[in-house]
């Protein structure tokens, strides 16, 4: 192996793979992330792709990107700006020009920088000059022609040959980071095991890319990011949807229940159904229903019959499920509804991230309809909050809505694998036959949960349904009974606060500014606030994972700060919720509704404006 001329040692580096939506950029990014994680770096990833499976080639709208942030220290976000960009065509340069650090390295397929392609991307002249990128480390590589040449003596058709281009680019990036190829080679072998020719071609091209980068090394620096110093344990890479699915399985196992998911495919939530459909080995039952409504009703039926009923969806599907969520509110059955939020309203931005379903989750139903609402903060966090959602659903006999989003669902990070013995107990409020008549709506005095009697249990036959009931389970239109039951259901959900841990403050408990977030903005807010603290500002942060009910110490935490700002990816839904729940405080808002996560920089800039008293709020 040749000696490297320039090696830059860094705490963290951001790499973005970008090309047409059929160029295999998601796979390339995933493989690079896994390799880095196995090496011991902390990582955070962010796939960003168009809704179309094969969007128009060579256009900016069709660009599919995968960003990964690798670090020697803990990384909490996929990074605002890329240090390395892999651009398979001019459109990829155009789409990412705004998101590059000064002095970034751009590896690009020079074969694709023809006049036609350049024009398609909307450039009039040299893309690098037009976007003022000529000061970057530009590494042109004739990827298409080298790949063609490398595989010319194989029996593969042109289409298959060109599909290996992503491996060439990946090989080059591996050289840049002095990474090992073995994980990727094993992956190729496994994926194309039945097509040895294709497997061989991909491996060959991967190595060709690596050696090509080595040969031309003089043109760009290579990077060294040492392994991160993180807590001892066994780690794996996990994305939000997988973590959600596994968290639900873990809770079902702890509770001694069978998991049952009734669901309908919808971006970006489908991964949860797909993951659980695999888990027949653990006894999980899955049914891809005829529609969103059937999905949730099947889950409710399953819960009535003694399973842990789960349904997964995104915003449009949550809208369709709202009547059935109320059926679970009324019948007081355990149910977990996972809403992987995406850009709305309507079909909106199916593949982009947003936090705008908060009010829908809290209020989007008829009548007085209390449900517990949780929100996960990071991809691996989804495991924990899915577990918690299921635990609360079972212990309180109530529907729980778990909010994640596209950013969490598709993003991944290393995760220290917990042992099931360290997970909390899940206590099922089973009904027991006694001499006395079974009253289906009699409540546990502490949790207010009713007892769970399931078909098959002798002597506990009863009827539930959407009509208002008495404690006995008889239909009742009596005014006082209705009000009593409404309040009981409300009190039960509010009582979940007993299980809600206190908010943890990042920073001092008092100061000039408290930055408030909920769910997936955690990483960006914490990174921004930590940097501000290091720069000497009196700023702290809190992130809410329990939306309803809110943590007990919310008021006490808010009281410690002169100003509060709520940062969220909507027009202020959580800020307004806090204005209602904690009225004595005023709240600034920092909102973004672009289908994209925050950048650390924009949060910092807004905070500094507030601290300097320049906000226009």
């Amino acid at each position: 192996m040749g000696k490297r001329l320039t090696v830059i040692e860094k705490d963290d580096v951001v790499i973005r793979f970008s090309g047409d939506s059929g160029d295999g950029m998601q796979l390339t990014g995933t493989l690079f992330s896994a390799t880095s994680a196995l090496f011991g770096n902390d990582i955070s990833t962010f796939p960003d792709y168009p809704a179309e499976i094969r969007a128009p080639q060579g256009t900016v709208g069709g660009v599919s990107g995968f960003q990964v942030h690798i670090g020697h220290k803990q990384v909490n976000t996929p990074g605002d700006f890329a240090d390395v960009l892999v651009a398979m065509n001019p459109a990829a340069v155009r789409a990412n020009a705004r998101y590059l650090t000064k002095g970034a390295t751009i590896i690009y397929d020079s074969d694709n920088f023809t006049e036609k392609h350049i024009a398609r991307a909307g450039y009039k002249s040299d893309p690098f000059i037009e976007d003022k990128l000529d000061g970057m480390h530009l590494i042109p590589a004739p990827i298409t022609s080298i790949v063609r040449e490398a595989l010319k003596n194989t029996d593969l058709d042109q289409k298959t040959i060109l599909r290996t281009k992503n491996m060439f680019a990946l090989g080059m990036v591996y050289w840049l980071f002095d990474s090992k190829l073995n994980y990727t080679e094993e992956f190729i072998e496994e994926k194309f095991g039945k097509k040895p020719l294709v497997a061989e071609a991909n491996s060959k091209v991967l190595r060709a890319g690596y050696y090509y980068a080595e040969t031309i090394q003089a043109v760009a620096p290579s990077y060294k990011v040492s392994p991160a110093n993180i807590e001892k344990g066994t780690y794996r890479n996990i994305n939000g949807n997988q973590a959600t699915a596994w968290g639900l399985l873990a809770a079902a196992e702890k509770a001694g229940l069978k998991l049952f998911i009734g669901s309908y495919p919808i971006t970006p939530a489908t991964g949860i159904l797909e993951e659980l459909a695999l888990r027949k080995d653990l006894g999980a039952k899955s049914l891809q229903a005829e529609d969103e409504i059937a999905g949730i009703c099947i889950a409710i039926g399953a819960s009535f019959a003694g399973s842990l009923g789960v349904t997964s969806t995104s915003g449009p599907g949550l809208a369709l499920k709202s009547e059935a969520i109320n059926l679970a509110v009324m019948t007081e059955l355990p149910l977990v509804v996972v809403d992987v939020q995406r850009g709305g309203p309507s079909t909106g931005l199916p593949t982009k991230t947003e936090q705008a379903d908060l009010w829908q989750a809290l209020y989007g139903r008829n009548g007085e309809s209390p449900v517990v609402v949780l929100a996960a903060g990071t991809p691996s966090d989804c495991f924990h909050y899915a577990f918690r959602a299921a635990k609360i659903a079972v212990e309180y006999m109530t529907p729980v809505i778990l909010l994640t989003d596209s950013y969490l669902a598709n993003g991944s990070e290393p995760w220290r694998i917990p042992s099931m013995s360290e997970m909390p107990k899940v206590t099922v409020p089973w009904a027991v036959k006694t001499d006395k008549e079974f009253l289906p709506y009699e409540r546990d005095p502490e949790t207010l949960a009713r007892r769970w009697a399931v078909p098959g249990m002798e002597g506990l036959e009863h009827r539930v349904g959407g009509l208002e009931k008495t404690i006995k389970g008889s239909v009742s239109y009596t005014p006082e009974n209705h009000e009593y039951m409404v309040k009981m259901r409300e009190d039960k959900v509010e009582g979940v606060v007993a299980q809600v841990p206190d908010l943890k403050i990042v920073g001092c408990t008092t100061g000039d500014l408290l930055v408030i977030g909920w769910g997936s903005t955690y990483g960006h807010i914490v990174t921004a606030v930590t940097e501000l603290q290091n720069e000497g500002h009196s700023v702290s942060a809190v992130n809410f994972n329990y939306i309803r009910p809110l943590p007990k110490n919310t008021d006490a935490v808010f009281a410690g700060f002169k100003q509060r700002v709520v940062c969220e990816l909507n027009l202020g839904q959580f800020a307004n919720y806090l204005r209602m729940k904690h009225q004595k405080y005023t709240y600034h808002q920092f909102n973004k509704v672009q289908g994209l996560p925050f950048t650390v920089r924009e949060i910092k800039e807004y905070c500094i404006k507030l601290l300097e008293g320049n906000s226009n709020e």
């Binding site: 049952f260 027949k280 653990l282 409504i293 889950a299 039926g301 399953a302 959407g466």
Partner: protein
């Protein structure tokens, strides 16, 4: 069956303590009574029955059955029943629904439940009207029916429950009439014992909003001439004097009179409920008055693999092969590394 019945139930054991709130004279009372009688005759412990319904007059039935019951939301009974049955395949799940509930708002769930061939029993009360909302037309209302929402008559074609069932690859379809307790009892028992989705259409009279809609079927004077009760293996013969029958001519059903033109009983079609090819069954369920007698009884009954069994099989097969037996093992499967 009663000889081997170890549970010794009588119909009264299935009556709940709830006051029955259907209108006096409503056909639902008869349906409830026949169902309770049927259950008493089956050798199944009471706690294994679940009655699931949607919304509408028919859907109140679970409240009146002293079994596990789930009164769902409009149209979704089939989906709720699906979750219950798959969650615990040992249960006997009955879906109680109506023409509006199952075929309008719940049409999608109905056809998919039938397609999956889950082992559930769907009892569809067809009164060709919306009763609980006080008299609007339904997907089975005859074209031209004047109702509150069709003051000048409907301009829609109506669904036939049997055609939809067979169109969705249904394996069991039977039809009975609310007042006919004996036939109903026979049909419900067959549905209960059928292995797979059973659809029973009950021709039911709404005494308030569509009274007499089925008069040609229920009227003592004419009912035997206007209906044919099919029995497997027997010739398709009907009429007050049992002098009429059905034959197939040019792929169409034809009503013939015995003795006319040399026609004898031997020329008539023999009912084969177990024939997988739905051709004749489809023609039978589509027969309408006055051109044809309305077919009653068990029209189609085919044994086929059920969804719930398929799921159990698949679980067993996957579990035999998989190395993952608990969540701890799942979390550690695939690429991991130690720190």
């Amino acid at each position: 069956m009663s000889e081997t019945n170890t549970n010794h139930y009588v119909a009264k054991d299935f009556k709940s303590d709830q006051e029955v709130r259907w209108c006096p004279g409503c056909g639902d009372h008869g349906i409830l009574a026949s169902l309770q009688k049927t259950l008493a005759e089956l050798d199944i412990p009471k706690e294994k029955y679940v009655f699931v319904s949607g919304i509408g007059c028919s859907s109140r039935l679970p409240y009146y059955m002293n079994t596990y019951g789930f009164h769902g939301i409009h149209g979704r009974a089939a989906a709720i029943a699906t979750g219950i049955k798959i969650s615990n395949p040992e249960l006997m799940v009955w879906e109680i629904t109506g023409d509006g509930d199952a075929l309008a708002i719940g049409g999608n769930h109905f056809i998919h439940a039938v397609r999956r061939n889950l082992d559930i029993k769907i009892i569809l009360f067809n009164n060709e009207i919306y009763g609980l909302t006080k008299g609007q037309y339904s997907p089975t209302s005859k074209k031209g029916l004047v109702t509150k929402t069709s003051p000048y008559g409907t301009i829609e074609e109506s669904f036939k429950v049997g055609e939809l069932t067979i169109g969705a690859n249904g394996r069991f379809f039977a039809r009975t009439v609310d007042y006919n307790l004996q036939l109903s009892n026979e049909v419900y028992s067959a549905a209960a014992l059928h292995h797979g989705t059973a659809v029973v259409e009950v021709i039911q009279n709404c005494v308030i909003f569509n009274d007499g809609a089925h008069d040609f079927i229920t009227n003592k004077e004419t009912r035997e001439d206007n209906t044919i009760t099919l029995r497997h293996g027997e010739p398709m013969i009907f009429g007050k004097n049992r002098d009429k029958g059905l034959v197939l001519v040019n792929l169409k059903m034809k009503v013939v009179k015995l003795g006319e033109g040399g026609i004898t009983e031997k020329d008539l079609l023999i009912h084969d409920a177990h024939e997988p090819n739905p051709g004749i069954h489809y023609r039978l369920v589509g027969m309408t008055y006055p051109d044809y007698p309305v077919a009653l009884g068990i029209i189609r009954s085919i044994d086929a693999p059920t969804y719930d069994e398929g799921m159990i099989d698949q679980h067993v097969r996957v579990q035999e092969k998989s190395h993952v037996t608990c969540v701890d093992e799942l979390l550690r499967s695939g690429a991991t590394w130690k720190k």
